[in-house]
Amino acid sequence: MSIIQIILIALFVYLGSIGSIVGNTIGWYTLGRPLVAAFVVGVILGDIQTAMVVGIPLQIMYMGNVTPGGAVAWDLSYATYIGVAAAIVFGQGMDATGAIGLAVVFAGIGGLVGQVMWNLSYALNLPLNRFAANYAEAGETKKMIIPNVVMGQAIGFLCRFVPAVLVLTSMTAASGQADFATLIPGWVTTALSIFGGMMASLGMGIILSFLLKKKYHIVIFLAGFILVTYFGLSTMAVAVVAIITAILYYVAASSQADRKGA
């Protein structure tokens, strides 16, 4: 990675983290999603194909990682930007499963850094309340931007951008030292790809915990499952079937609700 590429990726790590300057809707919930992050890294490093091949499984794995206030709060942007960049930098000459395995491991490392940095910024933001209280006491409406945005973002930027630059730079330095595709023994690649494939169940399991609200819901989940396994449909085809089913469900349920209301 060139210096400009490192800086750009680190900048996006910051933008995609919780509470960046562009807001959580554009930042955390869009740029921070692995699907989008992989695309951005692909554009920056000029290899959209590889980026997306590893980005899609990462997105499945981290599908359940959505709520900043919830139990799974960490800066996901670290995990994916660094994971995808690692797959492109170290995965030269590897097949798809090997590259995905690499991405999973580096996403784990990035995720740990992200968790530490999230807790750090959460603690460093605390004293800002004193500044806000002082400005409020003086009725300085124009200065409320100072504690919230100026100071809050200085902390946020330092906690995200700087560590990301360090991690990405050391990755670049390491990749120049050796050819990793030949260095990593075969059984490690096998273990990594098995791990990657199984990790997808984590994202799906957490999503199911949001969606399964009634007992019979499990049958609807199974319907989607067997459309792929028995009927051999692609996920896109199943998505179309799902949309049709949802519309029919809505029409049926709302006409039933109307009848009850009348």
Binding site: N148, L202, G205, G224
Partner: protein, 288 residues
Amino acid sequence: MAKKISEKTLKKSFRTWFFWNGCSQQAESMLGMAFGQAMAPVIDELYDTQEEKAAALQRHITLFNTEAQVGSICNGIVCGLEEANANGQCTPELISSVKVALIGPTSAIGDSLWVATIIPILLTICLSISQASANMLWLGPVIYMLVYPIGTAALSWFLFKLGYKSGLEGMQTFMATGRLNLLTDTMTVLGLIVVGALTASFVSCTLPIQIVKDVYDATTNTILESQVLFNADSVLNSIFPQILPLSLTLGVYGLYAKKKWSPLKLMGLILVLACLLTFVGYATGFYA
């Protein structure tokens, strides 16, 4: 003359909230400072003396938390209440207690409906779009990058205005119509089918046990080397295709939802299982 917040100020307040609601999040006041900053232009317009401004700012930098995108309805409601207060029709105590009361329901709706349902469903649809063709892998993220922020911004601004115009009654009617529940149920049906398909396509787990022997073929009088006599994985899959990925996913779901395991703990469990399966696979010659 009755005081009124201009459209321009409302937009400014909304923009401040929409972009900077999470800028200074911490454990003491959560999104309090961001709420205070978003209220600043409104306070500036409604109150004249420095004392009034100070009092208003001070009550808005206190603890506040919500799911900020759907929670913009709180900002709208509070803007309406501040306007009433400036006209002497409301009290600061009422504003503060309404604010605190709004934290629970708006967080619940925002987190469960928007964040935990809409985002994953939109992501799964975009994933399927990317999956549809190897040359169009970029299409999914591009669609997500357009649809999600624009749609959310529109909803957020709509809820902000709804809160400002119709206040608490507006929120009650919005929550009580039953349409919201129906919409959630519909999205759940959609989501479950797609998640089922994604589970089938992406979760992989094989039972790497096989018996390989050299077989003597009597008809040709030769020894056929390394014939697979028994493959546990294909036996399982002939009973129910992909039964292992399905059981793994449901198992993870059970541990996460029912036993309250943390994602990190589950990740550790999966790592151990993966190492175990790799070892078994090499031991039985499944992976060469």
